[in-house]
């Protein structure tokens, strides 16, 4: 059934992607060729036609080997994550598959649990991050976490506190950090209120409510800017003070990329 939902161009790109599928089209993290095909076919529509994403600097994402993509998080639903995955797959030659991590609560939800694993988005655990990097994959991390997607419209483009776990893992696994800034998520789903009861019902960290009530992202044009890879010295056992200073550098770089994206957007409008 899935093959009818898979775009021919996506199918062609999947032949060159960096996932070692076995005979049945499954890799050792449980990524399935069929599911990934359907996923990217859907993303293609969103990426090209709905959000009409303009991506710059994709050449900064390494062609092979491990790397961490670190960016700002926004927009209630993780559309920025999906668009980043789409950009790396559709803009890079040869295409690469970005693996991410999802909130732990999502693993308890039916279908979300099944699909997230089949498309290579594992539960948000440090063990998973290390395993993916050791397997020479691209790993996308949003150090703002749910604090980032949950931010309200009035706080748009203000970076909230960054977690530091990603930096220790980057040092421990000697992975380069590719910073990126995503612009448009805040306008696509402007959150004005958090519905606490609904969130509790689904055991979600928050439930975004936009002015038009239903949390569906609007077709706002988005911009994605990748910066040059950053390398840090160390092995992940440094004191918190040193790690914090490294994280601050990444945070500043991402803030600059977001500004770059916002300026470019203003100029084209």
């Amino acid at each position: 059934m899935w093959k009818y939902l898979t775009d021919a161009a996506v199918s062609e790109r999947l032949n060159h992607v960096d996932i070692p599928f076995n005979t049945y089209g499954i890799d050792h993290f449980g990524i399935s060729r069929e599911h990934v095909g359907t996923f990217y076919s859907g993303l293609k529509l969103l990426y090209e036609n709905y959000f009409r994403v303009i991506t710059t600097g994709v050449e900064n994402v390494p062609d092979t080997g491990r790397a961490m993509l670190i960016g700002n998080h926004s927009g209630g639903l993780p559309m920025d994550a999906m668009m980043t995955i789409a950009a790396v797959f559709f803009e890079k030659e040869p295409p690469r598959h970005t693996m991410g991590m999802v909130e732990k609560f999502a693993q308890k939800l039916p279908f979300v649990s099944q699909w997230s694993c089949r498309i290579g988005q594992l539960t948000g655990l440090p063990e998973h991050a290390v395993a993916m990097l050791k397997a020479e994959r691209l790993l996308m991390v949003f150090p703002e976490g749910a604090r980032g997607t949950g931010k309200l419209y009035k706080d748009r483009y203000k970076l909230v506190r960054f977690g530091t776990g990603f930096m220790r893992i980057a040092l421990q696994t000697k992975s380069p950090i590719v910073p990126f800034g995503f612009v448009g998520g805040e306008e696509a789903l402007p959150t004005i209120y958090h519905a606490k009861t609904l969130a509790k019902l689904f055991r979600a960290p928050y439930w975004p409510v936009p002015p038009y009530l239903v949390p569906i992202p609007l077709p706002v044009q988005c911009r994605l800017v990748f910066g040059e890879p950053m390398y840090f010295e160390g092995d992940g056992t440094e004191s918190d003070q040193i790690i914090d200073s490294y994280v601050a550098q990444v945070r500043d770089r991402i803030a600059a990329l977001v500004d770059e994206g916002r300026v470019a957007r203003r100029e084209t409008e």
Partner: protein, 303 residues
């Protein structure tokens, strides 16, 4: 080398005995079940491992090593029998080892003791806590037995103890926990969940156990075979029909309509994966599985 294998009449245990005999070792088999066509080189003793005649085998033959495979699961034994055999039996065997100077003792355990949980990582290492006592209470006795054998590492320092946590065995015998789950024409899935299942060809299981003995392991080791695959695919590739059942109805379908019988508490193990990292064992023993996941499922399907 003189090796005692407890629970030797089980399919994998027989295979281990054959491998050891092939390699020129002398095997003493202990099991209350018969093994009528045991090969020459295997001396069968039909006794209960916790009873006096079993101890006498240790006393008279002074074996160099013991491979303890006399543990049972909910598939074949009642709760009372499981506690008696898995805990009482394990205790008795390690006591004999200590008393009669056995150098190496291997506990053959199961990977399900780690327990399936939504927030547990894939590729769990040996340091991960064993959650099965709460995620699947029918396995609590096996968790206790695993930890009991594990504490022999420091409690009985003269005995070199290795605890193996081996993934599901699958193969031509069509026996074992996983084969039992796959036995009906339809395989129950919880709708919206499709966990990765990790298994190993039963011949590889036997080779891995022998490798643990030859490498003189001490400690706790995960033993894995080929890469894991989703349960739905495992069912299809084994010639069965995977049927997703909405979670509230899942328990009432078990044992009916061509679905295999499972304890109600098993639902976590059908929703979430238990996938282990077996790299430490592979590095220390040089063990590599002979059969990949496709060959293993074919061996099961076409036997």
């Amino acid at each position: 080398m003189k090796v005692v294998i407890t629970g030797v009449s089980g399919y994998v245990a027989r295979r281990v005995a054959e491998v050891l005999v092939r390699d020129g070792h002398q095997v003493f088999g202990i099991d209350h079940r018969p093994w009528p066509d045991a090969p020459p080189g295997v001396q069968m003793h039909r006794v209960d491992v916790r009873k006096r005649p079993a101890e006498d085998i240790f006393r008279t033959h002074t074996p160099d090593a013991v491979i303890h495979m006399a543990t049972v699961t909910y598939v074949s034994a009642s709760r009372e029998k499981r506690y008696r055999l898995n805990l009482g039996g394990t205790r008795a065997v390690w006591n004999y080892c200590d008393r009669y100077g056995v150098e190496q003792a291997i506990f053959v355990g199961r990977h399900t003791v780690y327990g399936a949980a939504p927030d547990a990582p894939l590729y769990r290492g040996e340091d991960e806590p064993l959650l099965a006592g709460s995620t699947f209470p029918n396995l609590a006795d096996l968790v206790a037995a695993d930890l009991y054998a594990g504490n022999a590492i420091w409690r009985l320092p003269k005995v070199r103890t290795a605890v193996l946590r081996i993934v599901y065995s699958l193969g031509p015998s069509r026996r074992g926990t996983l084969a039992n789950f796959l036995q009906g024409p339809r395989v129950p899935l919880v709708m919206g969940y499709d966990p990765l299942f990790q298994f190993i060809h039963e011949h590889d299981t036997a080779d891995a156990i022998a490798a643990a003995l030859y490498s003189q392991l001490r400690g706790v080791y995960n033993v894995t075979g080929p890469q894991p695959i989703p349960l739905s695919l495992l069912a299809k590739a084994s010639g069965k029909t995977p049927v997703p059942i909405p979670e509230p109805f899942f328990p009432s379908f078990l044992g009916r309509f061509g679905f295999s019988r499972l304890p109600k508490a098993s639902i976590n193990h059908v929703k979430y994966p238990v996938v282990l990292d077996g790299s430490t064992f592979a590095n220390e023993t040089g063990f590599k599985p002979m059969f990949d996941e496709v060959q293993t499922m074919d061996a099961y399907r076409w036997s």
